[in-house]
Symmetry: C2
Subunit: 335 residues, 2 copies
Amino acid sequence: MSITIYDIAREAGVSIATVSRVFNNSEHVSEKARQKVLSIANRLGYHPQAIAQNLARKKSKLISVVVPVISNYFFMEVLEGIQDSLADADYDLNIYNIKPFDDIPLQVENTIKRGMAEGYIIVSVHMTEQEWAKLKRLGVPIILIDEYSSEFDSVSVDSVEGAYNATQYLIAQGYKKIAMIRAFENSKPVKDRITGYRRALEDAGRIVDEELILTGVDSDRDGFNENNGYEAMLELMKLPEPPDACFCNSDIQAIGALKAMQDMNFFIPLLGFDDIQLSQFFGLSSMHQPMVEMGSMAIKKLLSRIENRDVEISHTVFSPELIVRKTTSQLIETI
Amino acid sequence: MSITIYDIAREAGVSIATVSRVFNNSEHVSEKARQKVLSIANRLGYHPQAIAQNLARKKSKLISVVVPVISNYFFMEVLEGIQDSLADADYDLNIYNIKPFDDIPLQVENTIKRGMAEGYIIVSVHMTEQEWAKLKRLGVPIILIDEYSSEFDSVSVDSVEGAYNATQYLIAQGYKKIAMIRAFENSKPVKDRITGYRRALEDAGRIVDEELILTGVDSDRDGFNENNGYEAMLELMKLPEPPDACFCNSDIQAIGALKAMQDMNFFIPLLGFDDIQLSQFFGLSSMHQPMVEMGSMAIKKLLSRIENRDVEISHTVFSPELIVRKTTSQLIETI
DNA sequence: CTGAAAGCGCTTACAG
DNA sequence: CTGAAAGCGCTTACAG
């Protein structure tokens, strides 16, 4: 059915090796042979089959991104950075979506064992050090984004620092009851953001009021969704003594919280985390994560590790940067 | 270096065929042989190599999505639908990002010719019927989303109808000068939305004022970006006689336009197109496209065509649905 | 149930 | 510059 290198070789009166060389841009082919092969290939619509090349070369020119949720703003921007850097390199991109309710380490391991890709970028996947160590034994190039393991290169943001600074900023602004809308504690970033929040309050000599730390019931994307923030903010407003400011674990929750404030016509200063592209349109203050840069940095690390597996493990940790917009300054009702 | 089926066969004292059968869940293997193979494979950390399986089976269990821009809200939601439906089927997902400034048909053709995937979903890529016809000759299962060709199955929305109804709605609301913020005319959907807008005005006996049809200068994503809408809205406000309502080719432009109105404290009713998830948080009225459903529908069609290439070509065209929110009702200043 | 062998469509030393 | 041949790591009739 489909036409192969043999067909071209026969037509052109050369060996399959020569045909192969033409398509691999080998220099050791006479111009005459090259032309002949090319013209016949063109006429017959021949193109080397990637699947066969992959096996013969023992490489696939494929990078696989493993992620729990693709429809997530953080991932979207990270993916943008990944694509950008990959466009220059000659690699294709594969996305493997792990199912959050099945055995996560097993899914990750099996994906990698199948060996489709030359390297993997694992985004926002939480595992124990022991599980990471097991993956390490596979001897495959792997980079972590938004998580940490001593076993692998990683790119992340210091969430403790980010949450600390966010909270400290609200304290410095003079707010007395600072709430935190958190996400579900399944990942290191969320745990770290909670830690940073607590620490900032403690360092300011305040008592942490557990009632002010909460999440909505919507568990989609581990709580990183608009609705979750909406629900949580409604809860906060119902308190006998509502907070006078709020830090959110993510911008998307903050956007939900904003909506709740509008619907209830009750406004307090709000500070998010991530600084997704839309936040500027919401006038949402946020702790900025360089998501696109994190994606391209991960690719850079991965490509260099594919090149040479012995490069030393490196961890890049960005410091989130406070971006002040309307939700922590004034005029919040008109946002 | 890596361990193969031969290593397992030798250790287990069986043939490679038996090892292969065990991993392919063939029934024709004695329980004893199965156990032996499995335990040895487990001890040695063996797993079949997808690359070799692909060649031997002549199939990759891979679906490739070809798209010009990944960081686009429309695509994000379509992708969500694609992933959802693919999770059940036993296929992996590959994303191929075509570069908008190189030869698009050539990129698409080469991608497909490489033969990595068993089927392709091409999203928002515009080509001439002649170029599509050329692709058709490759004999590969292909589904189009957000574009149309008689050669392939497609899933899209009736943009003429959508824009017509959007404009008609604004007319019915009593607005006299209805502007349209359009995107760049590189794609069928944009052309259709312009057509629908014009037709609605004409059918209402109005003269189309070319001054009221415009786009911003930001050409990123063919004009489908916040900034473009922002710029366009500023232009509209500068007119001696500004419009009293506006229809936008996309929600993301409408969101930018909204921001411009806020910044200028000048408000007119605004109607978007797409109904991306965030629009409800902006209170943005919009023409709803069932993006997630379009993605899963495309996968459904693709899988059935992979199964049987002779199924008749089908075109699914959804009718956009008007969703009325604050931007076309009241209280627009407080959104 | 099991094995020997051909085949998937290429790449790549090796020898000339 | 070119070709014969081995090899990439599997799958799968075919025969037993």
